[in-house]
Amino acid sequence: MLSIGLNHYLLLSAFLFATGACGVFINHKNITAMLLSVELMLVSVSLNLVAFSCFHNDLTGQVFAVFILVAAVAEAVVGIAVFIIYFLNHKSIEAENMSGLKG
Amino acid sequence: MVRAVLKNSTLNTMQQTAGGGFFRLVLEVDGENILKATPHIGFSHFGIEKLIENKSYINAVSLLNQEYALVLAIEKLLKIKPSKRAAYIRVLLAELSRIMSHLQTVVSIAEGAGNSTPSYYGAAVQEKIMEFLELAGGSRLHANCLRVGGVYNDLSYGLMEDIVKWLKKDFLCFLDNIDEKLTEDRIFKQRTVGIGTVSSENAIEWGFSGANLRASGSLWDLRKAQPYDVYDELDFEIPIGKYGDCYSRYLVRMAEMRQSVNIILQIIEKIPEDFMIILDDTVATDNEKTVLSHSSKNIDEDYNVPAGQCYESTEAPSGEFGAYLVSDGSNRAYRCKIRTPSFAHLQAVPHVLKGNKIEDINTIISSLGIEAGEVDR
C-alpha cells in the first residue's frame, strides 16, 4: 500500500470516470450538470493518460492529455454559448424540452 | 454573456448627488446598459413651502441663492427696493455662491468620471468662499445675509479688497489648473463627450434652465433677460455650449465661473460708497442712519405684507429659481410655491440615462447639477 503504482492512479481515474457517467444519468434533466459530468470524465481520462505516460516514460500520453484539454475546452465553450442562446429564446434549458434542436 | 444574466434585472440604488443629498434610483438594466431609470424622490423632503407658510417672513432662511427669489418676491409685494449699495452687495454675494455651486458641480463631474482629487482642491476653494460669506453674513453654509429691503449688514472693512485679491491671485490660478488637468484630459473627454446629450429642443421641452439650457445651445439667462437688482448695470457675457452633453455642461460652468469673477470685479469698481442700507418707508423706522439697530429692529418686529400675489425668479446657479407668493395681508405667506430648477432637470433623467452605461450615471447626474435637497424641498 505504501508505494503508489500505476494501479492506484488507474483505479482513481476509473472511479472518477464512473462518477461522471453516473452523473450524466442522475442529472439527466439538468443540462449544465450533464456538462459538468462530461468534464469530469474528460479529466479522468487525462489522468489516465498522464499516469501511463509517466510510468512508461513516454511523453505521448501527456501530449494527448494536452489535446484532450483543448477538445474539452472548445466543446464546453461552444456548449455554454448554445445554452445561453437557447435560454434567451426559450427561458429554460431543461434537457427534456430541447426537442426543438432536432433536425 | 453579461447580457444574459442581468436581463432586465432591477437595481435599486441610492444615488448621491453632488452636494451630498440622496435620491433613490431604480434601474432596469440589460447587462451594462440602462433600459429604464426611475428616480424616486422624497428622501430629503422637509416641506419648506409649508414651513414658510407657517412662519413669519423674516424666519425663512435658506441658502443664499435660494433665498434671493423669495426676498425679491416679498420686496415686490411690499413695493420696496434696496439701496444701490445693498443691491450691489447682494449681487456680489450671489455671484460668490454661484462660483461655489459651479465649483461643486465641476468637481463632482470629475469625481463621477473617477478622479476625486479635484474635489479636494475644490473643497479648499469652497472653504475660502464660505469664509467670505461668514464675514459678510455671520454663518458659513446658510450665509444668512439677505434681508427684505437690503442686506444684513454692510461688508466688513477690507473684505472686498480681500475678495478681489483672492479672486485675482488664487482663484483664477485654480481655474487654470483645473482647465489644464481636466479639460484637456483624454480620459475625462472620453467619459464626458457625447454622454448624456440633451438637444436644444428637448431641453426647452423638459423645462431646462440655467447652465444646462445654455449648454444645449439656447441663449437664455435671467440675469440678462429680466435683470433684477443691479444686473443691468453690469457688463458680462453669456457662455453658450454647442452639443448639450456632459462636456458642454462642464465647459459652460467653467466659463460662467470666469464670468462671475468678471462680474465681481466690476461690482467692486462700481459699488457706491454709501454705508447706509435704506429700507422703504413701509417698513422703515425712525433711525435710518444706524444700520445695526435697524436690522435688529427688523428682526424683532414682524411686518405685514399687503395682500396680493407675485412670482419672482432669479438665475440660481443651477437654473431658474422662482418663488410664487400669495399674501393675505398678514405677517406670513398664505401660499408659497417654490420652483426649483433641479426638479425640472430631474424629470429629464430617465430620458437622458436611457441607453447609457451604468458607470455614466454619476457623471450625468452631477453634470445636470441636480441636488436632492433642492428637488425635494
Binding site: L12, A18, C54, N57, V70, I84, S92 | V193, L219
Partner: protein, 192 residues
Amino acid sequence: MNEALVFYVLATFSIISAVMVVFSCAVNSVLFLIMVFISVSGLFLLLGAEFLAMMLLIIYAGAFAVLLLMLPLMLNIKETYQHTAVKCSAFGVTVGLLLFSCLAFVLKVKPQRLENDVSLAVANNVKALGEVLYTDYAYLFQLCGMVLFVAIVGVIMLMIRNGMEIKEHKIAGQIIRSADEIELKQLTDGEK
C-alpha cells in the same frame, strides 16, 4: 511514504469532490468541479507532469470554471427539478457501479507488465513536452489551434445580438472635441 500520503490525500479529496459534483446543485457543483481539478493537478505534479498540472489549473480552474460559474449564475436556472426522480438516480448509480467494477476488474486481471518505477520522465518536463509537441505532433498541434479558432469564431457568432438601444460613442470623435466650443454671447435687446 510521503508520496503515498500525498496521493491518498489528493485522491480522497478528488473522490469526495467528484461525488459532490454529481449530487449537489448548480453553483456548488461547479465549485466542487474546481476542487476536482485542483486535486487532479496536484496528482499530475506528483506524477512529474508539471506542464499539464499548471495547464489544468490555468485552463480549467481559471478560465473555464469562470465560464461555468457564470452559467448558473446568469441563467437563474430553477433547481426544483433536481433529484426528484429516484428511479433515474438509482439507474445512474447502477450504471456507475457497473462501469467502475468493469474497469477495476480489467485492472485486476491484466498483469502489470508495463509497470516500472520511473516516475520522473525528464528533469524539465516542460521542455521535453515542448520538444515532442513541436516535432512529432506539430500538425496535430496546429489542428488544435484550428479547433480553438473555430470555437472562438463560432462562439462570437452565436453571441452577437443586436437590436438594443445603446448609445455608441466614437472615441476618436470624443477626443477631437476641443474646449473652445463655448461662445460668449451678449443677450441683445431683441431677444429679451
